[in-house]
Each structure stands twice: as C-alpha cells, then as structure tokens.
C-alpha cells in the first residue's frame, strides 16, 4: 500500500495498486505548478482513495490537476478520457519502493538545469 499527503496534511490519499510509469515531467505546466520539476506515477482511478478538500484546476482541456487549497501542494493529475490518475511522488514518505523510469516532455524543459541521470528522455 502507498499513502501520501500534502504538506499541511489536509489532503491525503492511499492506494493498494502498484504504481506504474514513474516519470519526471518537464512540461511548462508542471514546471509552473510545481515550481521546479514534477514527478508522478499512476494507478487506476478507482483504486486511489482521496481524503480532504482537494481542489481541481484544468490547465488544459484534456486534464485536471489536483492541489491542496490550504498549503498549495500539487498532488494529482487526471486526464479526462483515461481511467488512470497520477499522484506526485514527492508526497510519499521514504522509503517509497519506487524508481523513476523516464523523463517526459523534455523538449519543454527549463534552460537552467541539465538532465544527467541516463534515464530515457521523451521529448
């Protein structure tokens, strides 16, 4: 089981599913929302239980992003036409037992850092 929470604890979640597709996202939307780089893994949406007053924001017409309205922690990403939901890996306590697999949207990465860990990069 994995469980995590925002910084202030108002929003928490848990899942018994095995998280898949652990990724760093470098797109401009994730960089703006996270303040740096967002990382996440996904599970079936019906296997993630969210507790607390999560607030949803649609940064595009294909997906919505969930954050804590009290502390601002960026926790979830959900595409409207998919039955999976992504949760942030930063919201998990150590040890997570998860290993990042890839970088995505690297064509949109910030110019102020380099990617040097050797993981696959998807532009």
């Amino acid at each position: 089981m994995h469980s995590g929470s925002c910084l202030c604890g108002a929003v928490s979640y848990q899942t018994d599913a095995t998280p898949q597709g652990a990724s760093f996202c470098h797109c401009g939307q994730c960089r703006a929302q996270s303040g740096g780089v967002w990382s996440s893994a996904h599970v079936p949406v019906d296997m993630l239980t969210i507790t607390g007053p999560v607030k949803w924001f649609a940064a595009s017409d294909i997906a919505k992003r969930g954050f804590c309205p009290d502390c601002g922690s960026f926790l979830f990403w959900k595409a409207h036409d998919e039955d999976m939901i992504s949760f942030s890996l930063g919201s998990l306590p150590n040890p997570t037992g998860i290993a990042l697999e890839k970088h995505i949207f690297t064509a949109d990465k910030g110019d102020y850092y380099t990617i040097a860990d050797g993981l696959p990069q998807k532009p």
């Binding site: 910084l7 996270s34 601002g72 922690s73 960026f74 930063g90 919201s91 150590n94 860990d117």
Partner: protein
C-alpha cells in the same frame, strides 16, 4: 529582467535582477509541496514587482517561513523566510529562456529514495 507567473496567470510578476542563481531543494517540505523538487531563485524584495496578485495565498510552513501559492491553480511560487531581505521565487514559474544556471542542490540528506542526483551541481546535506 525576468517575468514569471503561475499556471493560470492570476499571479504574475517581474524580477529586475536575481540575487543568486537557483538552488534545487530536496527537503521533504519542498518535495511534498512541489510534488518532486522545488527550485528557488533568491530575489531582493525591492526587485520583485507584481503585475497581478489576485488570489495569491500564503501558507506558514514553519515558524520561520511562509510559502506563497496561487489559490486558483495551486502553483507554488514563493518561499519567504521571516525577516530576510529576499524572497525565493520558484524558478519553474519564470518564462524561458531564463539565462539562469542551477548552482547547487540543498537538503540532499532529506531527498526522496526514488531518484538520483546526477548533474555536476554541488550537493549540500543541509542549507
């Protein structure tokens, strides 16, 4: 000059000059807030000008600092230590190109176990 904004544009600002190039913070607070790694660029208060600050919210994350975020879209934007002459502005909020270069990783003793730090920027266990 740099320009920055949250994802929805409710909070937007200009930065006349930076005090120092950005740091990547791996502390558990920054990781929970950002979802992975928060990157901050120090800016003197006088060099930060808001062009819009509607729905900018502040959360006191410790007894010595607050964090600013957009109440509409949730973007994490600022880390403001009490009594300091500067505020850390989220590097991810800046329009590119920024011309900035990551100068260090901080609080790496508290990093997540699910990634490695592999670039050549210096690493500090704490601050």
């Amino acid at each position: 000059m740099l320009t920055g904004h949250c994802e929805c544009g409710s909070v937007a600002f200009t930065v006349a000059r930076v005090q120092s190039h950005p740091s990547a913070c791996h502390c558990s607070q920054c990781r929970r807030l950002s979802g992975h790694i928060w990157s901050g660029t120090s800016v003197a208060h006088d060099d930060l000008t808001f062009t819009s600050d509607s729905n900018l919210k502040w959360y006191r994350s410790s007894d010595h600092a607050q964090r600013g975020f957009c109440g509409t879209c949730g973007s994490s934007l600022f880390y403001k230590p009490d009594g300091a002459d500067h505020v850390s502005v989220a590097t991810g909020s800046f329009d590119t190109p920024t011309g900035l270069k990551l100068r260090r990783h901080i609080f790496v003793a508290d990093k997540g176990d699910y990634y490695d730090i592999a670039d050549d920027a210096p690493q500090f266990e704490n601050y």
